[in-house]
Amino acid sequence: MALNFFDQFMSPVFLGLPLMALALTLPWILLPTPSSRWVNNRLLTLQGWFINRFTQQLLLPINTQGHKWALMFSSLMIFLLSLNMLGLLPYTFTPTTQLSLNMGLAVPLWLATVIVGMRNQPTHSLGHLLPEGTPTLLIPVLIVIETISLFIRPLALGVRLTANLTAGHLLIQLIATAAFVLLPLMPAVALMTTMLLLLLTLLEVAVAMIQAYVFVLLLSLYLQENV
């Protein structure tokens, strides 16, 4: 049974059992558990340092109310980062290529920020629908535009992540196939294709990290507006 290019994105099933839960939860095993020691091994030190720095940087522009979201953001970041990076390995399934998963992350979190804003400071939140300094004539148009932009946000969040990762994986598959097929026919061209594949892999590593970061950053931005 020959694989087509989109089989890598099918939700994995083994003997009728869906493996999606395993795909989502097993990356957690790779992260070392914080121990009760004061001085840890290098891995744990680096993990602790990274999470501390990341959370500190992310929560810098957010006021104290928003700091309740620190755990959410840091765990989301680690989750997305690990899923994306592990997906770059061969024969792996990347859950974040599924639109359902990304929308399932984006819509509730975005909605939470909006509801938090509307409940605690409704005037201030609604005020974001009109940027400062707009000419009076443009106000109605701009409010409509800003409302549309507000509702597009969860869609954009989810689709951005899905599209980036899916496109990246597809490209890797395509170029790898090209290199594979060209190898017996035109080895020199296959060599160049392999070089391209190497560069693309580097790009995909970067994209995996950046997309996870962007997802969390945008959510923190939406929170900052509303809190």
């Binding site: 694989l3 095993i29 790779l30 070392p32 558990t33 121990s35 009760s36 020691r37 004061w38 001085v39 840890n40 091994n41 290098r42 891995l43 030190t45 680096l46 340092w49 770059l88 390995l89 061969p90 024969y91 890797i172 598959q173 790898a176 196939t177 290199a179 594979f180 097929v181 392999t194 594949l197 190497l198 693309l200 892999t201 580097l202 590593v205």
Partner: protein, 290 residues
């Protein structure tokens, strides 16, 4: 009670996650040692993973005793972490495999095993070379390049983080110690000062006595001067009176003498003076010509 946690040994760039493994290994002193060839991960996985691993394991491993909590091992005092992680060759293959195969197959054993396995899987088409192989090769190259290039610096950074942490605590301890030694020295100095206190008092007493003496002498001097001044005044007064009397007397005598000189007496005295002068002139003239 030994609490075993579930974790997969990840042989990664910084290479020290195995240290955690070894920590757990060292706790198992009271339990039966598994056979020397057992991979460490199998010794540590908890029981439900054990069964899955055992079914496919090439080595027989005794695992049951640990999960029955029958050992008297405790977690305190916390055993120390090993300095370095487990030894690995080529980044991912533990040294224990090579040690295991060395007696039977020598140095090249594991390599032959690896090559044979690879060729077996390729020839029997258990693993088929397809486009994913290329993708695997490229991601493998990226990972290996990343680890070789950035591994040492990342490890050094992690070490530095830990060292800074320890250094900060050490600094606090050193500061406390230095301040305490300083306090001890200051206290000793104060004690030495106390010994010299009597000397200080003597010196002060001498000072005060000298001041008093000086003061007394000054006042004595002043008194003497004052008395002398008064006496000088009296002397001057007497001298003045004496002189005035003398002058008065001299003036009175002169006045009387001058008034008592008659004109007859005056003429006689002038004639006498003239004859005396002539005689003197003659005498000098005679002396000059002689």
């Amino acid at each position: 009670m030994c609490k075993c946690k579930l974790f997969v040994v990840s042989r990664d760039v910084v290479g020290s996650s195995r240290s955690l493994r070894h920590r757990r290994c060292s706790l198992q002193k009271g339990t039966k040692r598994p056979k020397q060839g057992a991979r460490c991960s199998e010794r540590l996985a908890p029981s439900f993973i054990n069964h899955a691993v055992q079914a496919r394991s090439h080595f027989s491993v005794v695992q049951a005793s640990r999960s029955l909590h029958s050992s008297s091992q405790s977690l305190a005092p916390v055993p120390s972490l090993p300095e370095k992680g487990g030894k690995v060759r080529h980044g991912i293959i533990p040294e224990e495999l090579f040690q295991l195969l060395y007696p039977k197959t020598g140095v090249t054993g594991p390599y032959m095993l690896g090559t044979g396995l690879l060729i077996y899987m390729l020839s029997k088409e258990i693993y088929v070379i397809n486009h994913e192989t290329f993708a695997a090769a490229s991601i493998g190259a990226v990972i290996i390049y990343g680890i070789r290039k950035f591994g040492p610096s990342v490890a050094a950074f992690a070490d530095k983080l830990n060292e800074d942490k320890v250094a900060k605590a050490q600094e606090v301890k050193d500061l406390a110690m230095s301040s305490l030694t300083q306090a001890t020295e200051d206290e000793k100095k104060e004690q030495w000062r106390v010994e010299g206190r009597s000397m200080l008092f003597d010196a002060k007493r001498n000072n005060v006595a000298m001041l008093l003496e000086t003061n007394y002498r000054e006042r004595l001097h002043t008194v003497t001067n004052e008395v002398k001044r008064r006496l000088d005044y009296q002397i001057a007064l007497q001298n003045l009176q004496h002189r005035m009397a003398q002058e008065h007397m001299v003036n009175w005598v002169e006045k009387n003498v001058v008034s008592s000189i008659t004109p007859q007496q005056e003429k006689e005295s002038i004639a006498k003076c003239l004859t005396d002068l002539k005689a003197l002139a003659k005498a000098t003239h005679a002396k000059a010509t002689a």
